[in-house]
Symmetry: C2
Subunit: 228 residues, 2 copies
């Protein structure tokens, strides 16, 4: 524990003076006051990156969906539930940030006809007729901001990682996209990052999320434009 803190304390201050906004965890979209649509993101990857950014000297705001994790030391956490909440919290901070890292597994849709009261099973036992509406694309929107932060996206895929990740990088318009295989990473303590940028593809080894996060912060710092 003490050793870990020493290692953390002695990380190079590659992001000194930088303001970083990071999203983490799942979002949770209401069906009714009790039921939600969410995803299996534990938040561990995003929290590890927030910790690594703080270790590297950055001022970090972590916009987090519901997780069971404690806020990392020295990081300001903003708790949100839905993608709409996360969008609002990110947009409030993005304009003044130097770097935006979108790690959260944001729902693509919300339930347009969510109920204010708990849906009851009715006599005919009909399933609920859920109507979906698209959520804002937080990453693409931040990437389009004039004078906005440098943007890093994430793609957790279950198949065809390279193909999906390159397509996603183009679609979102971000300089760096980090891919990983959901089945290797979700909920666990290790992950394998694959970095996609204009120069091509760089595959990091399988590492603990803590170490993977530090490697990623180094890779980002090497690419980040100097402050104007």
């Amino acid at each position: 524990q003490l050793l870990q803190e020493l290692v953390a304390f002695t990380q190079p201050k590659l992001l000194a003076g930088r303001r970083v906004v990071i999203t983490a965890g799942p979002t949770s979209e209401k069906i009714d006051p009790v039921r939600v649509i969410t995803n299996r993101s534990s938040g561990k990857t995003g929290y590890a990156i927030a910790r690594a950014a703080h270790e590297a000297g950055a001022q970090v705001v972590l916009v987090s969906g519901p997780t069971a994790l404690p806020a990392p030391h020295g990081v300001r956490r903003v708790d949100v539930e839905s993608a709409a909440d996360m969008h609002a919290a990110v947009m409030a901070g993005a304009r003044d940030a130097d770097l935006f890292i979108a790690v959260a597994a944001v729902a693509d849709w919300h339930v347009a006809n969510a109920s204010g009261n708990k849906l009851k099973k009715n006599a005919s036992n009909q399933p609920p007729a859920l109507q979906f509406a698209p959520n804002p694309d937080i990453l693409a929107e931040v990437a389009r901001l004039p004078d906005g932060p440098w943007c890093v996206g994430f793609a957790a895929e279950t198949e065809n990682l390279h193909e999906h990740a390159q397509a996603k990088r183009q679609r979102k318009g971000v300089p760096l996209l980090v891919g990983n295989l959901a089945q290797d990473s979700m909920g666990g303590d290790t992950t394998t990052f694959v970095l996609f940028d204009d120069q091509g593809i760089e595959e990091l080894p399988k590492l603990s999320k803590t170490d993977a996060a530090r490697r990623l912060i180094k890779a980002i710092a090497a690419r980040l434009p100097r402050k104007a």
Copy 2:
């Protein structure tokens, strides 16, 4: 902490020699390998009841959906995700149990057309067309078992608690149903139980979940038929 353990140790052994199956937490129904439909149950109420039953001398099996809680000391926990998993785990143990307490917030439906791969946003940005199919009614099925355990159900409602709870008790065919208001209880550390049985209604005071669970175990022990 020591005082708490002394209090726990000195609880009257009202369920000595009884075998109890308890369900707790949410269930999680897959949409695809990443996305799920679930509910906001933290599992705290069910875990507190499992602890209280163990303190009262029972042999406890806790069938738990995904929660962030540690298994209570002395309790055998069986981890499940979907309502179908929970159904299988409960039916495997229910026939030999003296008491079944169904606290879990079980999904009424699962996604009939769940995908083996992560659903992609397609070019036309169409929302997913989810088809739902009903889940087994675990409590009603256990209550119908010949020589099955004595059954206690739970109803977390957001409105009209008394009306919904009495109707649920009839529909499920259980001798005791415990109602609470979801907005007062969910995720929090206190709860107000309202007991519905053949004799009428008994409202317990607002208590910590630990104390509410002990009061409930006393109320159950007073109603439970003597062993044959």
